[in-house]
Subunit: 280 residues, 2 copies
C-alpha cells in the first residue's frame, strides 16, 4: 500500500517534514544494524535522522557493542531493574516481563534501532537483591541465558540493608563478592559484553533523609563498581553523575521520590545514559 | 557530592566519553525547556548532545508545540493507546497508569526532555473504542483534564468491528462522528494543541489475513483522519507509513503480531514518530 516514496511524501506533508528530511532525505525511523556499522552512534533514543546527523560527530570508528542476529541482552539487578516485572511471563521483549523501569525503556529503543537483528531482551532483576543473592541464582538466571550483553546494577541494598542492622554488609564484602561474581561470569561467558552500572542514590529522596547513614560510605560502593569495571574491562554506566546533573533541572522527587527507586522520568534518564554508554 | 565538573570528568573516563563530549562538551542528558526554545528539534528520544547537534540541521525556528510549566499531555484512543493501563491508578506520569504501549514510552522521553517544565502525562485510551465511544466519555475523560496537548488515535475498530456484522460502521460514519468530536473539542479547548494519529494496520499480521475485508476500505479511514487533521489544523502522526517503512527491516510479526496491536518494538516506533511529529 505505502512505498518508501509514499513514506517520504507523507513525511514531507506532515509536521515531521523539515526536521527529518533536512537531515539527509533517506532517514528511516526504523534503523537497522547500526551497532555493527557504527552509524547510529551519538543518538541514543533518537531517530535514524538524528543518528545520521550525530554520526558525523562521533562513532565513525568501530562500534562499542557489536550485536549479532538474535543477540541476547540481559538486565540483572535489584528492585530498580526488577521494576515490577511479571514472574509468570519472563519471555524476551515482552513489556510485562521487562517491568516498568529502565530495562523496558532501553529495550524498546534497542528493538526499534536494531530491528534487522531481532534482538532478544530479558530482565531478571529481583527486588531486594544484594551481590550474594545474585550469586546464588547466577547459573540459572544469567549464565543459562547465554547473554551477548549482560548489564548488572547492584549495590544500593548492599549498603541500605546494613542500615538498622538487618544485614552485616560492608564495602569490603561488596567488593569481594562482586569480584568473585565477575570472575565467574567472565569464565562462563567469555564472549559476552559486560556492562557494570553505577549504584546511585539521590540526596533529597525520602529514604536518604538521614545522610549520615549514607555518606561517605555509599560513595565507596560506587567507587568499587567503577574499579571493577576497569579491572574486568567492562563498560561502566555513570548513573550517579547523570542523576546529579539532572537534579539541576528538576528536584530529586521528580526523578526518584525515595531517592532509590526512579520515577518514569528517572527510568528514562537511566535508559538514555545506558543506551549511550552501550551503543554510543 | 558530584558536581557538573565531576559529571563531565566521569563521562570522559567512562565509555560514554568520546561520543558525548565530542558533541560540544556541555551536553546534558536531562534537557530542559527546549520545547519553548526550539533547541531540541530533530532529536526525539535523543540526548541533549544529539539534540544540540541536530538542532543545527533543523528546528532553529519556533517550536512546533511550545509547552508551559506543568503542561498536561493526554493520550486518547482505543486498545493500542490503552495498552493494559491500570484502571485503579490513573494519575499523571505513573507507568501503571500509562500502560505498556507508545504512551508510556513517549511519556518517559517527554518527562526526561522537558524536566524543567514538570509536565503531566495521562492516558485515557480504552480498549475496543470507536469514535462514538470516545464521544460518549469525552467530557469527563478529556475536556475535564484540560489538556495542553491532546493526542487521538482512533479508527481501526471503526472498521474492524464492522467485519462480521457486529457494528454497522462505514467510513462516512467515522468521518461524521470524528468531525463532530473535533468541533466539540476545538470549542471546549481552544488553546489545546491537537494531534491526530493515523490509524494503521500491518499487512501480514494475524488479524489482517483476509485482506479483502480490509482493503481498500481501511485506506479511506486513514485518508479521513488525515483530511480532518488538515481541516482542524492539527498535527498528524503518519503511523501507517512509519510501519510500512519499518517492515522493510523486520517482518510484520516483529512490529505487531496481529497487525493491529504493536509489540514493544512497534510501540517504540510509534513513540519515536509521535515525538518527532509533536516536538520535532
Amino acid at each position: 500500500m505505502s512505498s518508501r516514496r509514499t513514506f517520504l511524501k507523507n513525511l514531507k506533508n506532515s509536521a515531521l517534514g523539515g526536521a527529518l528530511l533536512s537531515l539527509g532525505g533517506a532517514a528511516s525511523l526504523a534503523t537497522t544494524g547500526c551497532a555493527t556499522g557504527g552509524g547510529d552512534a551519538g543518538s541514543s533514543g533518537s531517530t535514524g535522522g538524528a543518528g545520521g546527523c550525530c554520526a558525523t560527530g562521533a562513532g565513525a570508528g568501530a562500534p562499542k557493542t557489536p550485536l549479532v542476529k538474535g543477540a541476547v541482552i540481559l538486565f540483572q539487578g535489584d528492585s530498580i531493574t526488577d521494576a515490577g516485572r511479571s514472574r509468570k511471563n519472563t519471555g524476551a521483549n515482552n513489556p510485562d516481563a521487562l517491568g516498568r523501569g529502565y530495562p523496558v525503556l532501553a529495550a524498546g529503543e534497542i528493538l526499534r534501532r536494531f530491528a534487522a537483528l531481532e534482538p532478544r531482551v530479558f530482565n531478571r532483576g529481583i527486588s531486594g537483591n544484594k551481590v550474594h543473592q545474585l550469586a546464588a541464582r547466577w547459573d540459572g538466571e544469567t549464565i543459562a541465558l547465554k547473554p551477548d550483553v549482560l548489564s548488572i546494577l547492584i549495590g544500593v541494598n548492599d549498603h541500605w540493608h546494613s542500615i538498622g542492622g538487618g544485614y552485616k554488609g560492608t564495602p569490603e564484602i561488596y567488593e569481594k563478592d562482586y569480584r568473585a561474581l565477575l570472575k565467574r561470569t567472565a569464565a562462563a561467558l567469555p564472549a559476552a559484553r559486560l556492562v557494570i552500572c553505577e549504584p546511585f542514590v539521590l540526596k533529597g529522596g525520602g529514604a536518604i533523609r538521614n545522610e549520615a547513614q549514607w555518606f561517605p560510605v555509599f560513595d565507596r560502593y560506587r567507587e568499587i563498581a567503577k574499579r571493577l569495571a576497569g579491572e574486568f574491562n567492562t563498560l561502566f554506566v555513570p548513573f550517579q553523575s547523570a542523576f546529579d546533573d539532572a537534579m539541576k533541572t528538576a528536584p530529586a522527587k521528580y526523578w526518584s521520590p525515595d531517592g532509590v527507586h526512579p520515577s518514569l522520568a528517572g527510568a528514562q534518564l537511566m535508559a538514555t545514559v545506558w543506551l549511550k554508554t552501550v551503543f554510543g
